[in-house]
Subunit: 269 residues, 3 copies
């Protein structure tokens, strides 16, 4: 199935303003909420066992990020993802630094059992999720994205989900169709938690375009790529860049997203 | 009792730089601290059971926000509000998304027993606190503010407190006198946790103007309305808006606050 | 041993991009990560007992900040600092508001047993760590920095560490050599958690310059002083200041750091 013009997915997001339940790390909470609001979605952050299932069930999408994980938060993530699975609510897994410790690997294995719609990570994280050597260092990837493309495809096939692997270029695959997305800006890795926010934005796009998750995830990544390029063109450094990125996501029209997308289908990997 | 010129309340805040103890949600902590510092108050965030009562007792004001509540944090909030009540320290309740889950409703009922000086919420939250249908969706209000004015007045009368209900227009009432405040900017709902920060700013104004909480709460809302209008006039989107808002709160003089206030007393609702 | 030109320490930091494990307060997490990334280090925030020792052991430096402390976090800090001590990984203690409650004093005494490389605090905090009267109020210092210089030297000698005491002027001492650093901008205290971020930056500098911690800590403070001065020259208030500070840290070259440093050795205190 060919992807629709990306502007369509953004149109759908802005028309629905999907409520996205985010259980994410402490570092990313504020910036994630602002990235969703700027683009046109409605974020909500909560995690208490007394209410987490009740809330996931009324959400349009769910974003799970293990950055500053601890046991109570892991419990909340398992409850939320189980609920999402039961109610067919699409959810995104961001396996931050999964290669760094055994604790993260064990947790991600449990979360994967509840069938994410999308896994969004860097090359090190995707390799680690596949059980390969990751060489990840903290939250930053040290693996080349090309090395990890095979792992991404295998992961998508194994879990029946989409894998969105981001780096200098981004790769999106559902195991059968593969796309490369270009754009963005060299300042992006110098601003913390942009990847975390992107994962939540993927959840928002998928929530508002449930019939077409591959296109929706690709559109979310393209949003970041196009807005990132614009933000970078006037930024003096990572401070002004992060502000310009929020403004660019807010200003970006569906037509511009369609026109400026730099994506290519990859037929042989 | 007529309200004093709003600049007087801001003058008092800057002269005292009140220490405001904030127990708030993870998303709002940084932005709330910056909003208080920019305006002229001194924020402090802490919540451990070993120290929370000790610290509330030396604070000038307390701000309680249930956004990312969980049981340990709820305990801290109950200890802090009980302490504030015992020491006659004014405190503000921000009942984030109270309509969304039973857990939040139960907690807010317990907190209300310790007599907040001000409740600051959106229309959905005020309706939910009154036990009415709220239609709240996450942290965002979906109710019309006019529908909720009666609920706000009833809530103020029931709990002997001030209710500050914010939205496109803001309403402040102590159950007997009612005011409408205009201003602000359409970008404000596109920046996360501005309402949370406003609640803490209300706590700061009330702490520095303890003899006149209705005027102080109104002055805090007017600060946001005037600074928001200015910030919006040059902003390119929600990123530059939030930065401009901090600058505008910092630059705002007491005379400008008095002059630019758009408030009207409402005699019949 | 004379200090090397400060640009050398910044060069080393950017060449190594040290992985800095931060266990810090909720308010500071995002801003701290951004300050480290802007300058050239690689931050990681995590604290779960299941993984904290494993992660500290692979980090180049550790930064501990007790701002929003609670018991589980205190346990994580003790595990991490014990690990750092065992592996000779340099770590920095930021004793936020240690004078405010007994709980903080007890925790800091336990942490000091694991021998920090640097203590970074304001004058009130340094006085409180020495067991003197602190007059601290929340996270802000109310003590004159000159009053506290003797306490800083005594603290450095007692714990065999460097003490970096910041305020209008900064003081750095290892108990034998003492330096005063000037610069910065009056807007700095109007932005939250800059001191917390500076502590983590000290950890990054020390991690990348392990043979010369006194020079490294001084270079970190000078970075903030020079970048702060530049940021302030164009800022309209604390909002634009915090953005300009990130840009200035990113743009600052080693040569500029060497040239613009305003430091003097103090021979008699």
């Amino acid at each position: 199935m060919p992807l629709r013009p990306f502007g369509d997915y953004l149109n759908a997001l802005r028309a629905e303003t999907p409520l996205v339940h985010c259980i994410t790390n402490y570092v990313a909470m504020n910036s994630t909420a602002n990235l969703l609001l700027a683009t046109g979605a409605s974020p909500a952050m909560l995690h208490a066992p007394e209410e987490v299932a009740e809330f996931t069930a009324i959400s349009a999408g769910l974003s799970i990020n293990i950055g500053t994980i601890s046991s109570h938060w892991a419990d909340a993530m398992l409850t939320a993802t189980k609920t999402a699975n039961q109610h067919a609510i699409p959810w995104v897994l961001d396996p931050v630094a999964v290669g760094a410790t055994r604790y993260r690997q064990t947790l991600c294995a449990k979360l994967l059992a509840f069938k994410p719609c999308v896994i969004r990570g860097n090359a090190s994280e995707i390799l680690a999720l596949c059980g390969l050597d990751s060489q990840g260092r903290g939250a930053d990837s040290t693996a080349d994205i090309c090395q990890a493309v095979d792992a991404a495809i295998a992961l998508a096939q194994k879990h029946g989900c989409i894998v969105a692997m981001t780096g200098e270029s981004d790769w999106v695959t559902d195991g059968a169709q593969h796309y490369r997305i270009n754009g963005g800006h060299p300042l992006m890795p110098r601003v913390t938690t942009l990847g975390c926010g992107l994962s939540a934005l993927v959840a928002a796009f998928v929530a508002a375009n449930r019939e077409a998750p591959l296109g929706a995830a690709s559109a979310a990544l393209t949003c970041f790529a196009v807005a990132g390029e614009r933000a970078g063109s006037n930024a003096q450094g990572p401070g002004s860049f992060q502000i310009a990125l929020l403004d660019a996501l807010y200003q970006l029209t569906p037509d511009e997203l369609t026109t400026h997308a730099q994506m290519e289908a990859i037929h042989a990997v």
